[in-house]
């Protein structure tokens, strides 16, 4: 019966499954261990690190080279399997950092019986959360034994750029924020506006930056926060509506914010920055502020009719205040009116004498304030120009009864005083 290879493999698989004990025994019978000749010596394996920088960063792409010198004759040499291992800051054990490399028995230089293998572009500490000393060693197997370069020699081997154990320093530079680049806009804004917080962070080592935006209310308590992980140098944008920072209840409040940011190792917090001020939701609609003087003379003693059209559909006891503004009397409160809710727009009028003599010859402006926000979320109207008040100071003409009485009385009193004084003091 002819037994081909497929049949033999099939039988092995069947035996392994059906009678594992006998199968194991057969393996022992068939195993012929490799016995090195008497003058075999283990190869010398070292890390070759011909670079000056002993400080490395997490993102730095490293290149490690295994230097293997095998002085055994080629017929005695066996394959050598190499594995680079590293130990991060604070770690107790080495771990493999890349795939194995193999050196076959015929891959040595004829001049010095040496060969090299490298591991390029490795970042073994990319996720390290600590800084400090890091170590590299090589695990290798020469088909006879397994060795670790840090322990196989009696003492650590350091010669030139060759190391049995390579010790480097893992460092980190914290990320930074570009202060000129922080911004929240629009400010002021309505609560449902697309408010954006923008900032720019840099990490000199190119680490990813963990950015958390903290939004604070008027009392300084944290209102909301949100986090993004961004690439160094890229703008980070938090859109308030996306994160649900503000709701209708927040209208009319002033907020502030700060950023905390880190690269996984070191972090910092910015100072508190103001913004945004959320505008109150409109409750009333105002228009047509107007002033009509008593006549075109615009004397200071005359009446002026101020008015503004107000649509107030929902609020009772809405307070409307009138202010005038001159150089002599800035922000001069004149009067106030309370109005109740009404479906129709109404004219709120103030007919009064708002000025006094020191306002003469001055330009005046006027404005209204309201106890509820208008359509622009403001509590105050624009300052409207009212014109120039006539420079004339005295209301009464020379021949008016009032003025005649004024000077006649003073003349009369002077004359009478002369007589009285003469009688009292001169006799």
């Amino acid at each position: 019966m002819k037994l081909d290879l497929d049949d033999l493999v099939g039988n092995f698989e069947k035996w392994k499954k059906e009678d594992p004990n006998q199968f194991e025994y057969m393996k022992k019978l068939l195993h012929i261990p490799f016995e090195p000749s008497g003058n075999y010596s283990a190869p010398t394996v070292l890390i070759y690190y011909p670079y000056n920088n002993t400080n490395i960063t997490r993102n730095e792409k490293l290149k490690m080279i295994a230097y293997v010198k095998n002085d055994n004759p080629i017929e005695v040499r066996s394959n050598i399997y190499l594995q680079l291992e590293a130990k991060g800051p604070g770690e107790e054990n080495f771990t493999a950092v890349s795939s194995q490399r193999v050196i076959l028995s015929n891959e040595y230089s004829e001049d010095n019986n040496a060969s090299m293998r490298d591991w390029s572009d490795i970042t073994p500490f990319l996720n390290s959360e600590e800084t400090g000393n890091v170590s590299f060693r090589i695990w290798f197997n020469d088909m006879h034994n397994t060795y670790y370069t840090d322990t196989m020699y009696g003492k650590p081997h350091v010669s030139g750029d060759f190391y049995s154990e390579l010790n480097l320093n893992l460092i980190n530079t914290p990320p930074e924020i570009d202060e000129n680049c922080t911004n929240v806009s629009p400010d002021p804004a309505r609560y449902n506006d697309p408010i954006k917080y923008e900032a720019c962070f840099f990490d000199s080592e190119g680490d990813m930056v963990n950015v958390t935006l903290h939004v604070f209310d008027e009392l300084g308590n944290e209102h909301k926060n949100a986090t993004q992980i961004i690439k160094s140098g890229k703008n980070v944008t938090f859109t308030a509506s996306e994160y649900g920072f503000f709701g209708e209840d927040d209208a009319g409040k002033n907020f502030s914010y700060s950023y905390s940011y880190d690269d996984g190792l070191n972090g910092s917090v910015t100072k508190n920055m103001t913004g945004p001020s959320l505008l109150s939701s409109p409750k009333i609609y105002v228009s047509n502020p107007n002033v009509v003087p008593e006549d075109d003379n615009r004397y200071w003693w005359q009446s002026y009719a101020f008015s503004i059209k107000v649509k107030n559909p929902e609020l009772d006891n809405l307070r409307i205040d009138l202010y005038t503004d001159t150089q002599a009397h800035p922000k001069n409160h004149q009067a106030c009116q309370m109005i109740n809710a009404s479906k129709e727009a109404e004219d709120v009028s103030f007919d009064l004498k708002p000025f006094e003599v020191s306002d003469a010859n001055q330009t005046f402006t006027y404005y209204f304030t309201y106890s509820a926000p208008d359509q622009a979320s403001r509590l105050e109207s624009d300052h409207e120009k009212g014109g120039v008040i006539n420079p004339r100071l005295v209301k009464y003409s020379m021949d008016s009864g009032v003025m005649v009485a004024n000077y006649l009385f003073i003349l009369l009193i002077s004359l009478v005083a002369g007589v009285v004084i003469e009688r009292r003091l001169y006799r």
Binding site: W301, A328, E356, V357, S358, N361, P391, R392, L393, V394, K395, Y396, S397, M398, V402, M403, A405, N406, Y407, F409, I410, L411, I413, S414, L415, A417, G418, V419, I421, E422, R423, L425, Y426, R427
Partner: protein, 221 residues
């Protein structure tokens, strides 16, 4: 007829030139005017004091060793001027100070920062002008009451001088009325009227102090 008309026209021109010339310059300069008023007044009081001292020295030098005190000499020199004159003189001094205040401190024309209109509650009142004058009367009342006694009771005041002092009253009334008129017209300006008011005020002050100046002049002779 023609000569009369020419004379009238030339007189009017001269008056006009006078009012709009140097008098207008002085009357429109607040500091100069107030300075002049104060100097005239101070000079009058100073000359009165000198007159009294000179009289005292002469009396002492001719008394042949008799001891005479200044007070007793003053008592001896005191002479009554008549009730009507005294009353008129007191009124004239009161009116002088009121006219002075109305002329310089009623409107911002001469002292922009120091005037009646800087007190808005007063200036806004219908009787503001009266109150302003009355306030001046109260402030200067003592001076007005005693100045005639001090200045006119120790020297000879002739009838002409008394007449001049009494005529100062209508002049001061004119000055006050013009100042009030200018106040009601402000910021409109009438330089000629202002000059007239100033002239009336100035002449009145001279008239009130003239007996003192005259006695000092005679003393020098």
């Amino acid at each position: 007829m023609n000569a009369t008309v020419v004379n009238i026209i030339s007189s009017t021109d001269m008056l006009s030139n006078f009012l709009s010339g140097p008098l207008a310059n002085i009357s429109s300069n607040g500091f100069l005017g107030v300075g002049l008023f104060v100097i005239l007044l101070a000079l009058g009081l100073g000359l009165h004091k000198l007159n009294m001292m000179r009289t005292y020295r002469r009396v002492v030098s001719t008394s042949k060793g008799l001891e005479i005190s200044e007070e007793s000499l003053c008592e001896e020199m005191f002479s009554r001027q008549g009730s009507n004159f005294n009353a008129a003189a007191v009124s004239a001094w009161i009116l002088l100070f009121i006219a002075f205040a109305y002329f310089y401190f009623l409107t911002p024309s001469l002292f922009l920062k120091y005037n009646y209109f800087q007190v808005p509650s007063l200036a806004s009142s219908p009787i503001g002008f009266f109150l302003f004058g009355f306030l001046v009367l109260l402030l200067t009342g003592i001076a007005s009451a005693f100045l005639p006694r001090v200045l006119y009771s120790y020297c000879q005041v002739s009838k002409r001088e008394k007449m001049a002092i009494m005529l100062a009253i209508p002049l001061l009334v004119v000055s006050i009325i013009i100042s009030v008129y200018l106040g009601t017209k402000y910021p409109a300006q009438e330089a000629n009227l202002r000059a007239v008011a100033f002239f009336a005020l100035f002449i009145s002050q001279i008239a009130l102090l003239w007996p003192v100046y005259l006695e000092a002049l005679e003393g020098v002779r």
